[in-house]
């Protein structure tokens, strides 16, 4: 039953509807202690969870909105946002006529649906429509291995000991403005626990969707890989056409215990606003993981959407011999702004980190890489390699690089390489002369440029990402 609903809602939406007519069960607009209590009550949360939310809320009130990123936007009115909206599980009606044909075309080109994904790959999908997980699939199968993969709310009820232990352990509510906001009002998200020595046999995947008008999306993801375990997690996003800006402030925490490995891959394709910069998602996400001895965390992201992206998936290399990786493609077109990168915090001995960042700017957009590599005092023989490449298309866009390097131990080796290049008209003409259209030529060239990163994505995700790159850059040259 619930399975059917999932399919009905998700697969049809991707093809047709963007403002799905799910009757929203929304909180009143604005933010106050009452709203925090409302959200907590809606989710039947235990007292400790409410307390944790209130603590975060009270702390948030004392904080100031950060302004250091290289992005510009009108001040957000936090009282003008609906903080909770849950879909009622009813049959969805779609009307093709209401949908922007441009968007339709894009989705046609992408040709993705949840159903297809599952069929192709055996991916377990935890679909989040607005804020409440509709249904978690493959749960039983995973259950046999002792793997927990559920919505965050469910985990609060069923595994309170794990949530209490790990939630906020990597990104405490005091960490930053948006992390505090998230801790106060987060609606739902995903929780994943891989027991000792278990290799998760499938890619775990969550499809996020932002839906009801004016609803901020405050997801929370927590992934715990116990000793010697392995998991690959996919996060992918699309959002409907909207006029007013929408705030998205998610928190993702990864805990990779001794000898464990977490691979976290993201394809982010939220509505970037129109050509004049009207509308679009504000994507202010805190993503961080901690590695214990011999552990590994690898972030791979393909960011093509959102009006504004500020996002720095980071790794704290706490244990000796641990490894952190960050592979990123960030595309900005038209009026989009992205300030993204990573932080690699080397604390343990013999820790290693690799950063490969590919920024592509087109239109009048601005694309910044901001990264920190910190080698702590006790991090003997730490190694880092960073490569930051920027590709410019046209002459009205900007590419910026802000690498921060802090070295507290003289045995560390830190390498930083950076290049800036432009897609040449000569390259495009060469492709044209071989029968390849402008659009396909750009796709070919851009995908070639991003190859090192795309190669890190799971196969089915890579295909989607490639299409996305071409679509995002459509009409940006010639």
């Amino acid at each position: 039953m619930a399975q059917d609903i999932l399919e009905e809602i998700t697969s049809s939406e991707y093809k047709y509807g963007f403002v799905t007519d799910i009757e929203a069960d929304s909180a009143p607009m604005g933010l106050s202690e009452d709203i925090v209590r409302f959200i907590s009550a809606k989710k039947n949360e235990p007292e400790w969870m409410l307390e944790s939310r209130l603590k975060a809320y009270r702390h948030w009130l004392k904080m100031e909105e950060p302004t250091w990123a290289h992005v510009q936007y009108p001040k957000i009115d936090f009282q003008n946002i609906i903080y909770y909206s849950a879909p009622k599980q009813t049959k969805v009606l779609n009307s093709l006529d209401e949908v922007d044909p441009e968007l339709l075309k894009t989705f046609e080109k992408l040709g993705i649906s949840l159903e297809e994904q599952k069929r192709l790959t055996g991916v377990a999908v935890d679909a989040v429509i607005d804020s409440v997980s509709v249904k978690t699939t493959f749960k039983e199968k995973l259950g046999e291995l002792g793997i927990i993969f559920s919505s965050f709310s469910e985990a609060v009820h069923e595994h309170p000991e794990l949530i209490k232990k790990y939630m906020g352990s990597v990104v405490p509510y005091t960490d930053n403005y948006y992390a505090a906001l998230n801790a106060a009002v987060f609606s739902d998200g995903s929780f994943c626990y891989i027991p000792k020595g278990v290799r998760c046999p499938m890619e775990l995947s969550t499809y996020f969707r932002i839906n009801s008008a004016g609803t901020g999306q405050f997801e929370r993801t927590l992934i715990v890989a116990d000793e010697g375990s392995y998991v690959s997690y996919l996060e992918g996003c699309t959002a409907p056409m909207r006029d007013e800006n929408q705030l998205h402030a998610a928190v993702v925490e990864l805990i990779s215990h001794d000898n464990a490995e977490i691979k976290y891959s993201t394809v982010q394709n939220w509505y970037p606003g129109d050509k004049d910069g009207k509308g679009g998602i504000y994507n202010f996400v805190t993503k961080r993981g901690v590695c214990y001895t011999n552990a590994k965390i690898s972030w791979t992201q393909v960011e093509t959407g959102s009006a504004i992206t500020c996002k720095y998936p980071s790794v704290i290399l706490k244990g000796d011999n641990s490894t952190g990786e960050f592979y990123s493609v960030a595309v900005t077109n038209n009026m989009q702004q992205a300030d993204t990168g990573t932080k690699m915090i080397h604390i343990g001995k013999n820790t290693k980190s690799t950063i490969i960042s590919k920024g592509i700017s087109a239109g009048k957009s601005n694309n910044s890489y901001r990264g920190l590599v910190r080698i702590g005092k006790k991090a003997e023989n730490a190694r880092n390699f960073s490569q930051c490449d920027s590709l410019l298309m046209g002459d009205k866009c900007g590419a910026h690089t802000y690498p921060y390097i802090e070295i507290g131990n003289s045995s560390g080796v830190v390498e930083h390489e950076a290049t800036t290049s432009k897609i040449g008209e000569d390259q495009i003409f060469y492709c044209n002369q071989r029968g390849i259209s402008n659009e396909d030529a750009i796709g070919l060239i851009v995908n070639g440029y991003c190859k090192e990163v795309l190669n890190k994505l799971p196969m089915e995700f890579a295909v989607e990402a490639q299409k996305l790159l071409s679509i995002s850059l459509e009409g940006s040259v010639g």
Partner: protein, 220 residues
């Protein structure tokens, strides 16, 4: 043929549809169609091929993937389905042998780090794969050593058929020892000022262009 600056490469670029050139007058008909009305990629799909004098490098795009895309586009235009992977590979290996192309070059990025000779051979390989009606070789012999020249010329000769034509732009008789032309045209100041058989090339090799320039001046 023709002296430097006479418009040989310009002609090639205009026919291929390079955006830097604007056609102010005249018309070009290609197989009964208005060539100038077509986008560069349409011209290519219609069977016009330009072997570039300076082939560009496309980092990250493998040669074979590039060829696969191009061949699929041209086939689509001709109403054909893309080749199955196996058939494509067979076709590819056939053509690769034609230009004696090293296997490791095919998996590398398009022209990236190729020597001058390898780039030119790659152009002929692409030509062989795309099976154009009209191929224009823009100074394909420049920068080639004797062996590469022979290989490139052999490739061109083997591709010759009653259904296609090749325009070879060159400065030297050397290439024409291998590719024997049916006609030789001399371009000067943007016009064909003299045409003849293969002997004309030999005459030019011997006497240079001055006598032609003089002839033109006298006629004017």
């Amino acid at each position: 043929m023709g002296p430097n600056g006479s418009g040989k490469s310009t002609l090639a670029s205009v026919l291929a549809g390079r955006a830097d050139y604007e056609v102010t007058e005249g018309e070009v008909t290609f197989n009964g169609k208005d060539l100038l009305d077509m986008a560069p990629e349409e011209r290519a799909r219609e069977g016009l091929f330009l072997a570039f004098q300076y082939p560009v490098e496309i980092p990250g795009v493998s040669n074979i993937n590039f060829l696969k895309t191009a061949v699929a586009e041209v086939r689509k235009h001709r109403g054909l389905a893309p080749l199955e992977a196996k058939d494509f590979l067979k076709f590819f290996n056939e053509k690769k042998a034609l230009v004696e192309m090293d296997s490791n070059l095919t998996s590398r990025s398009v022209n990236e780090g190729f020597s001058g000779g390898e780039k030119k051979r790659n152009e002929i390989l692409q030509m062989a794969m795309l099976e154009p009606k009209l191929a224009i070789l823009d100074e394909t012999d420049s920068g080639l050593d004797i062996d590469a020249l022979r290989i490139v010329a052999n490739g061109v000769n083997k591709l010759k058929s009653p259904d296609n034509a090749t325009v070879v732009i060159t400065h030297y008789q050397r290439l024409l020892d291998y590719i024997v032309p049916d006609f030789v045209h001399v371009l000067y100041n943007g016009r064909i000022v003299k045409s003849g058989g293969k002997e004309l090339a030999l005459e030019l090799e011997e006497k240079g262009y001055d006598w032609i320039k003089k002839e033109v001046a006298e006629l004017a």
